[in-house]
């Protein structure tokens, strides 16, 4: 009886140990953990100032086939005069290895608060565009993107 019991515990212990091993394997790598969250990244850009929704239009296809080149257009409603213009526009992502995508500096001589570029997306995620106006206010717009073929992870062989 005693022998059977210890044997049982031994097996149970083994299963527990196996489970713990799986848990360790399932933990994300340290690099992913070090990445700031989307909210932290936006706070870093605004310096903790409140961000309002509106004025900014983030245009990105809802479904993209290739995450290596995703066309993004950001348009900000602004007269772009010396007294009232867009100072900066920043793009952030939710799940790439780094939260920052790009920061653009504009001014009254840019003429329009609008720009386009092409970015990489590692997986389906949320994108956010934050605009800093000349009066110091921050406005944002976000969009969800579904990515079929991910960027950044392919190996060269």
């Amino acid at each position: 009886m005693n022998v059977r019991e210890t044997g049982l515990i031994g097996r149970r212990g083994l299963i527990l140990a196996g489970g713990a091993g799986l848990l360790v394997l399932a933990l994300p790598p340290a690099r992913a953990l070090a990445r700031p969250s989307l909210q932290e990244a936006v706070n870093g850009f605004t310096g903790g100032k409140p961000v309002e929704t509106g004025k900014v239009k983030l245009d990105v296809p809802p479904l993209v086939e290739n995450g290596n080149a995703v066309g993004v257009t950001v348009a900000v409603e602004s007269p772009m005069t010396a007294g009232d213009h867009v100072r900066r526009i920043a793009l952030f992502n939710e799940k790439n290895p780094q939260a920052d995508v790009a920061v653009f500096t504009l001014g009254p001589r840019t003429g329009r608060g609008r720009l386009s570029t092409r970015i990489r997306l590692a997986t389906s995620q949320t994108l956010i565009a934050v605009a800093e106006l000349s009066d110091g206010s921050y406005w944002s717009s976000s969009a969800n993107v579904i990515v079929t073929l991910a960027a950044c992870i392919e190996d060269l062989s």
Partner: protein, 106 residues
């Protein structure tokens, strides 16, 4: 020397908002990829882009690895006077590539 491609209208009226497109041939290596030997390929990206017109910087951009290879950017500027628009791309090593385009403003 990387190949650059810029698109600026040849003529414009004073005060007109003109569309500009600029691109540079560059791999924008993220530093997150593995090479055939199993080692990470070192990061090499274009870090900064700037467009100067009529003695002033009208647009600039700071890129991170999430910008696609051959970074492309489309923006606009107000036509003020005839002259050259100069474009500068700076990479991780501080190497600078430049391009310029002439515009006639009437």
């Amino acid at each position: 020397m990387s190949r650059t491609l810029v698109s600026v209208p040849k003529t414009a009226k004073v005060g007109e908002v003109i569309d500009i497109r600029a691109m540079i041939a560059h791999p924008m290596e993220t530093g997150y990829r593995m090479g055939p030997n199993g080692q990470a390929i070192p990061r090499k990206i274009i870090r900064h882009f700037a467009c100067e017109y009529d003695g002033e910087e009208v647009f600039s951009a700071e890129f991170h690895p999430a910008v696609s290879a051959n970074p492309f950017v489309a923006f606009s500027t107000v036509a003020t006077k005839s002259g050259a628009l100069t474009f500068r791309w700076t990479d991780d090593d501080g190497k600078v590539e430049t391009a310029s385009a002439e515009i006639a403003v009437s």
